[in-house]
Amino acid sequence: MSEPVVDVHSPAAEQAAEIATARKDILRIATAGSVDDGKSTLIGRLLYDSKAVFEDQYEAIERASKGDYVDLALLTDGLRAEREQGITIDVAYRYFSTPRRTFILADTPGHVQYTRNMVTGASTADLAIVLVDARKGMLEQSRRHAFLASLLRVPHLVVAVNKMDLVDWSQETFEAIADEFSAFAARLDVPDLTVVPISALHGDNVVTRSDRAPWYQGPSLLHHLEHVHVASDRNLVDVRFPVQYVVRPQSDAHHDYRGYAGTVASGVLRVGDEVQVLPSGLTTTVAAIDGPRGPVQEAFPPMAVTLRLADDLDVSRGDLVCRPANAPQATQDLDALVCWMAEEPLRPRQRLAVKHTTRSVRAVVKELVYRLDVNTLHRDQEAGELGLNDIGRVRLRTTQPLFVDDYNRNRVTGRFILVDEATNATVAAGMLPPHRG
């Protein structure tokens, strides 16, 4: 079967090209749930209905489908072990776009055993979708997903109440779940919560509004994903520029060039701005900003640029550029919430490597303050260790100062990872909550 030739000047091709090349932004989504919640079916439905599924992929799942209909869940199949066990073990990334937006979807596992993989997927998300089976209501797993999303400060949370067809689109059932979730979310300080009744299997309220729930006045799931306002989620106030790499051409043409490459973490940097470099505390001005296409007048997150400074200072990787009147806190004492991801537990007096922005230091665990029960939000202050997938509050003392902000205010300078120095494994995600000390 060979394909027909595409007429690249046909109206269809021109329209497709126009949609594809339109100026769009990216929304990063994380979905959490298990196979039973219909998560794979929902993602399959989003991919299929937004025409991100290719013919050969569709034919492959058509062949593999066992029932009377094409099982869209098979579109999200991944590793051999996952197919064998019928579960999701690790994050898979999916890509689709609509005329308004392009979407990167991290399809993450729901089982507690693979929490670290869920956290991997959710860490970069602008929006998290938690799936709930309408027949079962809010389960322990749904609470855990919502909690992890709030811990990571994913700015937008969507609860998709799925399998509404199996409860006859009962408004009462939906509202009971929505109320229960809202009450839980209020305790978690979730800034933006949206609850949508759907049937992923039949496509109701996924891409288009369904007439099966006339009592529901909200948008379809995809409409919400296309329109949710994310521009204000970024911090454009506090200038934070971790120096990543020093660019020194050492060539005749650029003999005196010395640039500090990095990604703007927050704030807006402009040529001519007075800036301070940490840890030295010396001040200078921004002489030039070089972007990927040459000099620019200003840089904002998440631009990757190279700064040139007016004065010849000693600046290296791990230093941080900020404004003199608005500097982060320099500290060797971290009071942090950590999600522990290793089989070997975290215990007091343990030594670990820390990576914070572009700065790598070592740390010792001074104290395990409490372990958090994700279901009850109870703080167990008697806990002696954190096991795999546990969340707790710890105090760390670092060998060198780090330049930190509250995670709530700044997702880049308020986070870090812990690495086991013997195995080199990444063993924890850390976040600095407000009101420390």
């Binding site: 079967m1 060979s2 690249v8 769009k24 991997t120 970024r234 990787r317 990872i417 690495v419 080199n424």
Partner: protein, 302 residues
Amino acid sequence: MTTPDYRLTQLETLEAESIHVIREVAAELERPVLLFSGGKDSIVMLELARKAFAPARIPFPVMHVDTGLNFPDVLEFRDKRVAELGVQLVVASVPDAIAQGQVKEEPNGSRNRIQTPVLLDAVEEHGFTALFGGARRDEDKARAKERVFSFRDEFGQWDPKNQRPELWDLYNGRIHLGESIRVFPLSNWTELDVWQYIAREGIAIPPLYLAQEREVVERQGMLYAVNEFVPAREGERVFRESVRYRTVGDANLTAAVRSRATTVEEVIAEVAVTRMTERGATRGDDKVSDAAMEDRKKEGYF
């Protein structure tokens, strides 16, 4: 391009993310190398590396695993680009490894599998600790699962069930002697993003990617251009067709697609309406089984 609302477009966001990844590797890993085949994805990756360190030179060499089955156009392009950028080119040669008895030719003529030990030998010989690859997560379901920094043990193996957690953009490049990291700066790009970036930045590509009348034969529903690596078999009908390549792999295994797209803009229009994945449409080597890519990756393939 700066906009008053301080937002980046999708391409600018992807570009920034890739540059961040490339700089992070150069800063943290001792001996990186960039895999450069002359294919469109590695061309874009090399361009991003250039931007990451400009006006300085790219601070690491590039490597090509030469199967001896390359399209001549692509080799010519590779050498020209490397010369322009002033980077060092390391060639790991599969024909040399066959001649020296290190690997054996497979009966079906595919050198896809045997290039893996050649790659791993070159990595060991040069002591490379990080290898940049141009793979994208939208290409294949095994790739969809892979981290940006993908840890490999001393045998170059990928363990998909036990990947390191990867939080935010805090990449962990720590390794022991003999281990390495495969790095995929284009992880989040789609085929269409790559084409749009080539168009937007005016990046040069080998002519194979654009449609041209070529002599072809049809095998198992796919069109192969007749050349020194793909002679017409007895009884096969050779005919002329306007075709282009969507991927550039080994010349004996890479099929072409019917196309009239003679400019990058026309390719974008075509890709935007085409309904087959690029690997499914053109790569004989992926048709083996449902998990072909997963198996090859575990062994150390890209």
